[in-house]
Amino acid sequence: MIVQIEVNNKIIKARKGETIMSALSSAGIMIPSICSMKDFTPTGACRMCVVEVEGRQGLVPSCSQPVSEWMNIKTHSPRVVKSRKTIVELLLSNHPDDCLYCERNGNCELQILAEELNVRERRIMGKKNKYKLDHSSPSIVRDPAKCILCGRCVRVCEEKLSVFAIDFVNRGNRTLIGTAFNKDLNFSSCINCGQCIMVCPTGALFEKDSLPEIEDALNNPEKTVIVQYAPSVGVSLAEEFGIRQGKDISGLINAALRKIGFDRIFDTAFAADIAVVEMANELLSLKGNKDRRPLISGSCPAWVKFAEQWYPDLLPAMSSCKSPQQILGAILKSRYPGVSGIDAATVYSVAVAPCTAKKFEAQREEMTKKGLSDIDAVITTRELAKLIKLYGIDMNQIEPEAADEPYGIRSSAGKLFGASGGMAEGIIRSLPYAAGAKEPSRIKYQELRGGRGRKEAEIRIGKTTYRFAVINGMSDAVNLIEEIQAGKCEYDFIEIMACAGGCVNGGGQPIGTGDNAVRTRVKALYGIDEKETIRCAHKNPEIKELYDNYLGSPMSEKCKSLLHTSYSERKVLL
């Protein structure tokens, strides 16, 4: 039903039951807010969105108040603007004065609000809360001093991830966001996904900085610095440089990385092809083994930690295949030196990931061989952008280049790993070949694409049907796990990604580039797939070469020692 409301002396139409804020936004009136989040119920905490409603004593939060017929609203009256401004000033009175040094300088919602509301004078002064930085996590740094207690991180962690690592602690102006017993994040149930960073309006949460060590390596002439970047980085980095959203700029990334001084540059999608082949064969080897059904992907390090903490009984079902990043890392330190004539001891291996949990994954004990870790440093898409800027590279002027050889070829199936469902789709494409049938009958699996929480597909090979499920976001995993535990699960393979949408929406991706950004990133990945001639992992000639000359057959002993791992229960305060 449509009702009429009066806004700033103009009559506009609104849907009955919708909030004032939503009606205003359809009418082109922007109302500032700190705590509200799309798809979440409003908490009414920040009070920035207040408007004046005739007949009401105080100001009314537009985020939670539904419209009613002939409501008379003033959105920018002096009283409203003064209130909003005072609220921002109050926040600033308890905020560190170090914008210039802040991670989020130039991309901070509080800074923008202060600017928009024309805060030009420090009117309100007082004591500020003192906190220490929490550096304990390999992925995420917390700076409670910059926290404005909007609660978005708590809600994402709880409602989208089902992790509950953090909550509000204490009361009143002593409130802070903390873990159970205020322990450091590393001792908590945090799965390092970084979604909290994505929603943080200020610099209270950011990734652990790995740039200094990479710079050191780059400056060290003894080191051969090799870099790989994940499939979804190529389609998201453009946003950081004002290039058209959703454009695949892998070629430019290759060029930029080379200019920075990386000695070798690879696309992680190449290793994703290996992962597809390994997992397809792992799946085949398990078919018929009722005890080991389903096979669950272990490529998402956030999901892996989630399982280690809450569902250790599920770990035997986890695919032993490492993630593409770690596979490539392992190959770069084992096979690659021999091929390219580099001394293995000098290799410094960097990965660019759309993800903060990848920093954690690289540090796992299981991911080292003879004391050498597969990957030495992981940076996020955001950090890569910083690095490019630091080296003064103008992304708009350089010409695209190709990745290094060998390992420079990848199938588009490997590229699909960047989106939720992409891994499953890639495995389905290669499963017939692995099973001895020659060609896949079908390439596109539309049912595995899109934003639903659980997606399903199946493929028939000979007389056997393989059922695939894709879990798109951690909170949807919990139901499925309960089904598995109850013995009600009929799937053969399950892909689980902690972040909704997959790696394209990872916690290391550009912040504040808009709702549309994730969609365009996905579109770009599928666009690459459409144009690609090699669309199945097993058809990648370079991995064929690698298997033939080094690894042997998929799931061979060599593969197992290099490309596979195992997980065990992790004790944290749940």
Partner: protein, 154 residues
Amino acid sequence: MDDQTSVILSRYPRGHRDCLIPILQDIQQEYGYLSESSVTEISRYLGLPSSKIFGLATFYNQFRFEPRGRFHIRICHGTSCHVSSASEIIKELGKKLRIAPGEISRDGMFSLELVACMGACHLAPLMQVNDNYHTKLDSGSINDIIDSYIEGED
């Protein structure tokens, strides 16, 4: 699992979050404070993450995460007590015991708690030490009272 904890938990249905506060109250009644291990037990019993339990417990005045002193002092800071110089008494007490409200003395003898109003305004200012009330305090009497507890323990 601690026996007493499981006895307390068994009085409540599993997985019911609305029982959290009563459970915490019982646990604190039993042990004097909430330990990490009891929070973990409760978390498992209710299927509620410990971060949520900690977040809740730190919200309320009642819950504490370290044991009480052998003498737990609750000092009233209601309006009437305030206009009768309770702030001075609180300061004096802090000096004497060398602890701030919410803390416990190093020897574990005294712990101090500020109470909003004990509802005996005609006897302001007042405090409660374990089960004893001390009323119409002044900075002189407060010292004597504390000394008497210290002597009593020797």
